[in-house]
Structures are given as C-alpha cells and as structure tokens.
Subunit: 128 residues, 2 copies
Amino acid sequence: MTTRRDAVHDTLRQSEGFRSAQDVYAEMRNHGAKIGLTTVYRALQALADGGKVDVLRTDDGESVYRACATESHHHHLVCRRCGHTVEVAGPAVERWAEMVGSEHGFTEITHTVEVFGTCSSCSATPAG
Amino acid sequence: MTTRRDAVHDTLRQSEGFRSAQDVYAEMRNHGAKIGLTTVYRALQALADGGKVDVLRTDDGESVYRACATESHHHHLVCRRCGHTVEVAGPAVERWAEMVGSEHGFTEITHTVEVFGTCSSCSATPAG
DNA sequence: GGGGAAAATGAAAATGATTGTCAAAATCCC
DNA sequence: GGGATTTTGACAATCATTTTCATTTTCCCC
C-alpha cells in the first residue's frame, strides 16, 4: 500500500518551499486526510531514501523536506523569510569540493551546500 | 565570571575534531571539573555567538562545536570516520554563493558549506 | 570590608521533534 | 475465503536542548 506515501508526496509537491514533517502532517489533516504522524515520518524517510525528495536541516535542527523538480544532484537557494526555494546546479562547487578534498588526501567526498538569503519579494516588505 | 566559559573553550581546544555539548560535558566531568550541563550549553552558545567556535549539525541533528584556528570565515573538511577536521578557505565558493543569490534577486546571502570525506589514515584502515 | 543589585550557575523539569512498540487493519498470494 | 505479510497509527519512549528558579558569585559603590 503506497497510497499514503503518495499522498505525502503530493502534499509536498503542492508546497512551494521546504516543509517539516509536522507541517505536512498538519496540512494533510486540514485537508481531511486520515493519516498518522508516524506514517508521515515514515513516508518522508522512504521518499528521501529513494531520492524522491530532498532533506535539509533548519538551524534549529528540524528536518525539512521538499519534492524536487529534478532527481539529479543540486543545491538550494532558500529565502529565510518566506521559505521560497530555487534549485541551483553548481558545477563549480562540486569541483571545488572534490579538489579541496583530494588536496588533503580525503576520498569519497560528499558535501552539503545550502545558500540562504532574502528573496526580492521579501526584501520589498518591511522586516518583521 | 567567565571561568567556566574559558574552561569549556579550553576543553574544545584540546580536541581534534568536532565535539557535541554532551561530549564536552562528559569530558570535563571526567577531568574533575565541577560544571553543569546547562552551563556547558550556555558557554558553547556564547562562544559560537562570539565567533570563537564553529558549530555545525551532524546528520542526526546534534550540534557539534569546534574551537577554530582562525576567526575569519571558513569551511570544514571533516573525516566521516575519525572526525579529523581541516579548515579550508574557499573564496571560490563565497563568490559562487553571492552570484547564485543575486542572479535570483536574493539579498543578504549567507551559506553553509561542509565537505565530508574519508581521510588518508582512515581509508588505509579496513571499513568498520 | 560591607551591602545589595545583577549576572552566572546548575539541578531538575519541560519541551519538542523523532523513533520505537505493538495491536488492529489493509493487502496480497494462493 | 484464509492465512501470511505489510502498513498503519495511537501512544509511549528517547534524547538533545531549553526553561525555570532558587542559590551562589561577582561587581560596583560606599
């Protein structure tokens, strides 16, 4: 039965930016879906494991998820105000990470890169 | 009274890689220091706020801290096996982040970049 | 040195996201 | 349909981190 998992995935697709598991759960309940928190967590993990959604940690340690347009490796530019997200490919960064790693004798290099900023709509609005 | 905070800082300096608050606390107690967990957390936060130590999140959401050699902006190359850390400056990455951000109309760009890998000593050892 | 305000400390309780448990429900295979 | 297997979800458990709050320490002015 993958209906619940699909429902979770759909909910994520309908969202603009990154959403926490709790968010997704609350939203699904608001829309009348019968689903448990536990299941949302499990679905999100399964989706993340399968590369169907991207995960990152907010500064306060909460995991947030997002259904991505592409399944290939990419990074995110996230608005710290409204959560609006742009996917960016950064070949330059990939090469830099590889280079830095091998320079120091490291192998199996992986990296995390996230860029935060204030998007144009939000910078037009007085700070809150 | 900043003695406790200094003690925490010292403990961090004596460590090779990143340590969690709980680690630092345990180590200080082992060395006979009279200090509470709460104080360790507070000291670590104060140190981090003041740019004296760097913070990052492990994959399981735990905050880890490290006393850095330089106080200027830099990133880390962390061995995923032994925690050995190398500080790397990445002007290329800084520029890339700025560029990507402004390309999309974002302002006040900040970024997180961490590179993980297996260091030469560890790759010489059979995986565990 | 003394007095009192303000900051630091720490033990224990609270918080909050995430995970584990386990029985009930849904699905599958034959 | 029937039983094995998987999925689900309510609730309890976990665990790092924060809060609370009373006690202790430091600081400043006299």
